[in-house]
Subunit: 402 residues, 2 copies
C-alpha cells in the first residue's frame, strides 16, 4: 500500500447515510449499466445488500427513468421463483461526439453502451475548433429532433489529442492544428448541455474495458492506430491511469527507431511516425475508406514489397509493445484499429511472437486480444464520460439534464 492510499482512508462523517445510499445506488446502476440486464436476485447476491434494500434502490432508479423492471421474468436455466429482470432504460441517453480528421461523428448512446443512432458529418480537413463545434451542434440538434421521450444526461467528446481532464481543454490536437482550445466549454455554450471531453484512445480503452475485449481485466494495456496516428491507455490495478492532468497513455510517442522519421510531436523515431495506416493501406492497394479491410488484406498479401513494409512496421510495433509490457506488467494487451490489422497480418506470415523480447517474468501469460467494438468504441467511450457522472449520483445528474 502506498502512502497516498493510506491517506485516503477516511472515517465516515456527517451525511453518511445519504452518502451510503448514493454509493449503493451507484453500485446497482453501474452493475446494470455494464451488464445490460440483471435479475434482482443477481443484484442482491452481487452487492451483498439485503433484498428489500435492493428493491428500494431499483424502484428509485425506475422512478428516475434509468431502468425498466420486468416483474414476470424467470431467469433462464434456473429453478425456483421468478426474479424480476432489471434492464437499462432508453429513457436517458448520452450524446457522443468524435471529431476526426475528415468528419465529425455524432452518436446517441444509451445506458449499457448501446449506440442508438450515429451520423457521420463529412468535412474538409483542418477545420477550426469553432467550426467543429458548429457542425457538432447542428448534428446533435438534428439527431435529437423529435426525440421527445429521451432525456440527455450530457455530451461526451472523444478528441484525437491531449485533453486536460479537469476542464476538457484541448491542449494539443496536432492533426487539426489546435492548441489550447476550450472545446468542452464551447460545445457546452452552444448546446446548453453539460460536456466532458477526453483523449479518444483513452475513451476507446474505457469502452473496451466496460463492454469489449477488456471486460473485467484489471491490468490492461491498450494501443490503437487510426488515420490520425497511434494512441492508447492503461488500466492498472483496476483503475484507469490518467496521469497528473489526463495525458497518460501516449504510446504513439514511444521511441522505436534511432535516427528515425520526424514526428508531429517535435521528436523523432516515434511509433506513430514510423508506422502509419496510410502507408499500410497503400502497400496493399486500399483507400483510406477501406481501413476496415486492412487486416484481411495484410493476411492475404504475398506481394514482396507489401510484405516487407508490414514486417518493418511489425518490428516497430513489437518494440512499443515490449516497452509497454515491461513497464506495466499487464495480463491483457488489446490492439485496435490498424495495429490489430498489422498483428493479424504478421501472424499469417509466421512473424516472431509479438512479446518474445519482453522480460521473461512479465511475458508469462500475457494475452493479446483484438479490440472488439470497432469504430463505435469512440462513441461508447465518450458516452462513458457522461454515464460515469450520471451513475455517481443519478438524482443530481438528472436534475440538470435536458
Amino acid at each position: 500500500m502506498s502512502a497516498s492510499e493510506l491517506s485516503t482512508v477516511r472515517p465516515a462523517t456527517g451525511g453518511a447515510t445519504d452518502a451510503l445510499r448514493r454509493s449503493n445506488l451507484a453500485t446497482v446502476l453501474g452493475m446494470v449499466h455494464r451488464d445490460g440486464a440483471l435479475t434482482r436476485s443477481d443484484l442482491t447476491r452481487l452487492t451483498g445488500l439485503n433484498r428489500s434494500t435492493v428493491g428500494d434502490l431499483v424502484a428509485e432508479l425506475q422512478g428516475l427513468g434509468l431502468v425498466e423492471v420486468d416483474e414476470a421474468h424467470v431467469a433462464p436455466g434456473r429453478a425456483g421463483r421468478p426474479s424480476p429482470l432489471v434492464k437499462v432504460s432508453d429513457g436517458v441517453a448520452a450524446v457522443a461526439v468524435n471529431p476526426e480528421v475528415d468528419a465529425v461523428i455524432v452518436g446517441l448512446v444509451g445506458l449499457g453502451g448501446r449506440v442508438l443512432k450515429r451520423v457521420r458529418i463529412e468535412t474538409a480537413s483542418a477545420r477550426s475548433a469553432a467550426e467543429t463545434v458548429t457542425l457538432a451542434s447542428a448534428g446533435i440538434a438534428g439527431m435529437l429532433a423529435g426525440e421527445t421521450r429521451v432525456r440527455i444526461a450530457g455530451i461526451g467528446v472523444a478528441v484525437p489529442g491531449q485533453v486536460r481532464l479537469s476542464d476538457g481543454m484541448v491542449r494539443e490536437a496536432t492533426h487539426f492544428g489546435w492548441v489550447d482550445e476550450p472545446l468542452a466549454a464551447m460545445l457546452g455554450a452552444a448546446t446548453g448541455l453539460r460536456v466532458w471531453a477526453a483523449n479518444a484512445a483513452v475513451l476507446g480503452l474505457r469502452a473496451e474495458s466496460a463492454f469489449g475485449a477488456g471486460r473485467g481485466v484489471d491490468d490492461l494495456v491498450y494501443m490503437i492506430g487510426g488515420a490520425s496516428g497511434v494512441g492508447g491507455g492503461v488500466i492498472s490495478g483496476g483503475r484507469l491511469l490518467t496521469g497528473a492532468a489526463g495525458y497518460a497513455g501516449e504510446f504513439g510517442h514511444t521511441f522505436v527507431r534511432s535516427d528515425g522519421r520526424d514526428c508531429s510531436c517535435g521528436s523523432r523515431g516515434c511509433l506513430e511516425a514510423e508506422v502509419t495506416q496510410a502507408e499500410l493501406l497503400a502497400s496493399v492497394g486500399l483507400a483510406s475508406s477501406d481501413a476496415a479491410r486492412l487486416g484481411d488484406a495484410l493476411e492475404a498479401s504475398d506481394d514482396p514489397a507489401a510484405v516487407e513494409i508490414a514486417a518493418r512496421d511489425y518490428a516497430y510495433l513489437r518494440i512499443a509493445c515490449r516497452n509497454a509490457v515491461n513497464v506495466f506488467n499487464p495480463s491483457v494487451l488489446v490492439l485496435g484499429g490498424f495495429l490489430a490489422a498489422l498483428y493479424r497480418g504478421a501472424r499469417a506470415h509466421d512473424a516472431a511472437d509479438l512479446l518474445e523480447e519482453v522480460v521473461h517474468s512479465s511475458r508469462d501469460g500475457v494475452e493479446i486480444r483484438e479490440a472488439a467494438l470497432g469504430t463505435d468504441q469512440m462513441l461508447i467511450g465518450a458516452a462513458e464520460l457522461v454515464f460515469a457522472d450520471l451513475i455517481s449520483d443519478p438524482a443530481r445528474a438528472l436534475a440538470g439534464a435536458a
Copy 2:
C-alpha cells in the same frame, strides 16, 4: 471512473464497527509513521475524527508499543493549550535485507523510516539463493543479539530482480543467475519471522514516496541506476503501480537504440545494456566503491572522451524519460543512483533539457528531482513492506511478531 473502480464500491457489512476501528487505527498510525511525530490536535484535524476517539486510538497504539506520547509537549510556534506529541516508538522495528551483487546488506528499520542499524556483509559474487539466505540469517541474528527491548514485526527483502508480489517468489534475478527462487519462504523458514519481498527499485520508490523526494506526490515516475542495472517504479493517481504480478516499472528494459547491445533480458538496445554505472565510473577514473562520487566527477570532468561517453549515455536516458513521461504524464520525475549523477553531469555541461522531446502538454510543469535517501532507500523501502502490514492491523500483526 473506470468500470472496475465502480465495482469496488461495496456497502459495509457485518463487523463494520471493528473494521472502522481498524481503519481509524491504521489511519492514525500511518500518519505518525510518515511524519515521525504529530500532536494529538494535528491528528484530530487531519483525520476528521473527534478528540476522544483520537485519544482512544493513540492510547491503543501506545499500549501496543507502537507510539510514545509526550503529554507536556507545546507545539512550536502555536498559541494555546499544549497538545500531547505522538511519536513513533523504537519498541517495534522491521528487519530489511538487500542482496546486492557483491554484498548482502542487513538493516534494522524503525517506524518513521529510520535506519537504526545496518551491516554490509561482503560476499563473492554469483552466490546461490540458499547462500544468500544463510548469510542474511547470520547477519540478522548478529544484529538482533542483545536487542531485548525491540519487537520485530517481520522482514522485508529488496531484490534486484522480478519478484512475484503474491508470495515473494523471485522469478528472475539475472545478476545472480536466479530463476524461480522462493526467497521469502526460504528466509521465513530460516528465521521464523514473516517475510515479504519485492523488486528493489520499486522499494526505492516506496521509500522516496513515503520519506524522500517523492513525498506527497500522486503522479511520480522513478528511475534508479546501480551496479546491477536500471530499475524503477511508478505511482499514479496516488497508488503504487504493481502490474498484474508485481513486475511493473522495468524502465531498464526500455528500448533506446536500434541495433544496440545485447541485454541480459535476451533483447537488444535496452537502457540498462547501453548505459552502465561501470562504464561511467571508468570514464572518470573511479572505482565501483566510489559510485557516490560519480555525480561530482561527471560535473567536473573536462576530458573529451569522458564527456563524450556521458553525452551518449545522457541521450539514451533522455529517450527513456521521454517514453516514460509520454506514457505516464507524471508531475514529478525522480532520478536515483548513477542516473541522477548522469543528469547532474549533463546539466553542468549545458546538455539539452532532459524532457525537451516529450509531447508538449505532458512536458509542462514536470519537476525533475534527485532521489533524497541515498543508499538507505532500499532498506527503508524493504521495511515498508513490513510496516504496511503492521499498519493495516497492528494488533493482529504484533500477535505474530517475534
